[in-house]
């Protein structure tokens, strides 16, 4: 007699607020002085939605993601999961948080234990926390998870070791593991950046299905704006620079009509896979090419030494607040653009 299938878990309704970061700061104390890797970040991850964090290396996006995943404790600010502060959870609450919020690493070659089979990797948490009664159920559940991430036929993967899998397959196993305990939020840190183009797209399509069918909420970290545009089209993009969000809003707005000079520079710098477009494109010229060190941040707006819109006295005196532009849906932290918009609105 066939065993009944495990009932589909109850999933959160699309749009429910799952993870909320408020004023998160992370300062690392080093010999060279304090490094403010993240300096006050507010983010909200909603069920079935994608929030994409983009920026260059060292901008603090990974540090933010790790704090959101509970891997590090922020030096200031709070991370809330379903309304409760993650740092004050009791053991039971902590376990629920751990099951619901998972993190997917960048390198699928490093994130799977080389001595464990796929079955063992995917079901370790289920077995540990008593979500499965016996081995047969664990194997069935593992097969289901592998199918969910498009590793089919699942049976042929269960007993394989990581070194027998390709990079794309490994990353799928890592995602299956993250989904094992019916997680509601996936924090993906450059999870597709090490894969070849075709494999990357198929993985993104798989993640997109998880988002749409299971209402998984994503905090998606990438340096690749094209990937951000594709995966977060119905969601939001937040652009980070030196530990702060400089622009945030619905993806089509940010990509097609960037307002912050840094966002503009990033978007215009992308090499388009289209020769005519590429030739016609004019990249924004920055005033400086080197990113300032986090230990010696410039005064005022930290982007001012590189900014093409730099205005003395305005930009190097006070840091611009991240505030709504034109009362719309876009947040922006730029003195010059905000002022110009205001004047245009008044005039």
């Amino acid at each position: 007699m066939p065993e009944p299938r495990i009932p589909a878990p109850r999933r959160p309704e699309a749009g429910t607020t799952l993870l909320e970061l408020t004023g998160v700061e992370q300062t690392f104390h080093t010999k060279r002085g304090d490094v403010p890797a993240v300096a006050g970040v507010d983010l909200t991850v909603r069920a079935g939605k994608v929030l994409c964090l983009v920026g260059e290396s060292g901008c603090g996006k990974t540090t933010t993601a790790r704090a959101a995943a509970g891997l590090t404790r922020p030096t200031a600010g709070t991370v809330r999961f379903r309304g409760s502060d993650v740092s004050t959870l009791d053991a039971k609450g902590r376990q629920e948080f751990r099951e619901a919020v998972q993190y997917i690493h960048q390198d699928p070659y490093a994130s799977l234990n080389p001595v464990r089979t796929v079955y063992s990797t995917v079901t370790a948490g289920l077995r540990r926390h008593g979500h499965v009664r016996d081995r047969a159920e664990a194997r069935r559940k593992a097969a289901e998870l592998l199918e969910r991430v498009d590793l089919t036929p699942a049976e042929s993967y269960l007993d394989k070791y990581p070194h027998q899998l390709s990079g794309g397959q490994r990353q799928r196993v890592a995602i299956a593991r993250a989904l094992a305990m019916d997680s509601e939020v996936l924090i993906a840190d450059e999870s597709t950046s090490m894969l070849d183009v075709s494999i990357r797209v198929s993985l993104l399509n798989t993640l997109g299905r998880l988002r749409d069918q299971l209402n998984v909420g994503f905090l998606f970290i990438t340096h690749d704006l094209a990937v951000a545009k594709y995966f977060a089209w119905d969601g939001d993009i937040a652009v980070m620079y030196l530990g702060r969000i400089v622009e945030q809003g619905p993806t089509p707005q940010i990509i097609n009509d960037p307002q912050h000079p840094y966002t503009k520079a990033l978007i215009s710098a992308v090499c388009e896979p289209d020769p005519r477009l590429a030739r016609a494109k004019k990249a924004v010229r920055l005033r400086g090419s080197e990113i300032p060190s986090l230990t010696e941040l410039p005064n005022g707006c930290t982007f001012h030494p590189r900014c093409p819109l730099f205005e003395a006295d305005t930009c190097d005196s006070a840091a611009p607040p991240l505030s709504l532009l034109d009362g719309g849906t876009r947040l922006l932290a730029c003195h010059v653009v905000a002022r110009d918009h205001e004047q245009a609105g008044v005039g």
Binding site: A226, P252, L266, V270, A278, A283
Partner: protein, 347 residues
């Protein structure tokens, strides 16, 4: 009519691994590179593009051997040089004076205990002409000139150790070093991989500028179609060790005639403009040690027919062009391949 500066004919490269028989990493590759032309070799990891690039300058690792074919370099005065027959000394001369390589991974290409200045001294000294010894002043002057060419500040950079410089700076220094003896051909392996987006952009612009000024021809190896669209006059797609399509950048990007090229292009999201549907190529690339019969792509191909499994299609010219080989594809059904992109959301 202009003669090609580099002619490659039926080049095959084998790797011998352990007791097993050799693996053919590049098979029957032919192409012409004209003076001042820029050609991109694109493909996924493991397709043999890096092997081919190294083979052009006979820089293959110990286990790799050119098993057949020829590479001919032509001087401006019409004299030609058979690269595969060169002795050790001639090869060394050829490698910096006529053609130079910029390796992947700017991080590992430097000796960590030598200052940048010493790297320049080494390169310039080991290739100085017979007439007179270069003085220290000569070397310093030439190094400064080269560094200014890639917009770096010589005084500071020459005194620095490699670890004190950013990835982008190191990549520029490598380019400057490669250009030290004014080669006519530059081979670059993934010149922008692992660099941040704004740094990538500045390297791309640097290469444009240098090519305009110095007029060298360029072969660059990349998995990034955007970079190919940006920098290449000609694009050659590689799959399983063979060039399966080649043509001008416009040919390949706007009218791809090989199903694999179509698949690659459809997997890459653009940043500007509409949001197209992205699709991946089913399956995964074959192992070079165990290639499918006939066309190596047939197990993954949507156009597959019975004859594809038996006959390997030759690279056949579809559109004749003055100079070089025009637009060619290695597909039995090249004439029927249609390339359209479905738009999911418009900008």
């Amino acid at each position: 009519m202009t003669e090609p500066i580099l002619s490659v004919r039926d080049l095959s490269i084998m790797y011998t691994t352990g007791r097993k028989t050799g693996v053919t990493a590049a098979a029957d590759v032919s192409f012409d590179l004209y003076p001042g032309q820029s050609m991109a070799l694109v493909g996924e990891s493991g397709c043999g593009k890096t092997t081919l690039g190294l083979g052009l300058l006979r820089l293959l690792p110990r286990l790799g051997k050119v098993s057949s074919g020829e590479i001919v370099y032509r001087f401006k005065d019409g004299m030609s040089l058979d690269i595969l027959r060169l002795g050790k000394e001639d090869l060394r001369k050829f490698r910096w004076h006529e053609a130079a390589m910029v390796f992947q991974g700017a991080m590992n290409s430097f000796n960590p205990v030598l200052r940048i200045g010493e790297h320049f001294t080494d390169t310039l000294r080991s290739h100085e002409g017979g007439e007179r010894r270069l003085t220290r002043a000569d070397i310093a002057e030439r190094a400064a000139e080269l560094l200014r060419m890639v917009r770096l500040e010589p005084a500071r950079v020459l005194r620095s150790f490699p670890h004190e410089l950013s990835g982008g700076m190191k990549q520029r220094i490598l380019i400057a070093l490669a250009l030290a003896l004014e080669p006519q051909v530059l081979v670059l392996d993934e010149p922008t991989t692992a660099l941040d987006i704004l740094t990538q952009r500045s390297i791309v612009e640097q290469l444009h500028e240098l090519r305009e000024r110095l007029g060298f021809a360029m072969v660059f190896i990349t998995h990034d179609l955007g970079l190919a669209a940006e920098l290449a006059d000609r694009v050659a797609t590689m799959y399983a060790g063979r060039i399966i399509e080649t043509g001008t950048a416009e040919d390949v990007f706007y009218e791809p005639r090989h199903p694999y090229t179509v698949g690659l292009i459809k997997a890459v999201p653009p940043v500007v403009g509409d949001l197209p549907e992205l699709s991946s190529i089913p399956g995964s690339p074959p192992s070079l040690a165990d290639l499918p019969s006939g066309c190596s792509f047939h197990p993954r191909c949507g156009y597959v027919r019975d004859e594809c499994t038996g006959t390997r299609p030759e690279l056949t010219v579809l559109t004749e062009r003055a100079l070089d080989e025009g637009h060619a594809a290695a597909c039995l059904r090249a004439g029927e391949i249609e390339y359209t992109r479905k738009v999911v959301a418009s900008a």
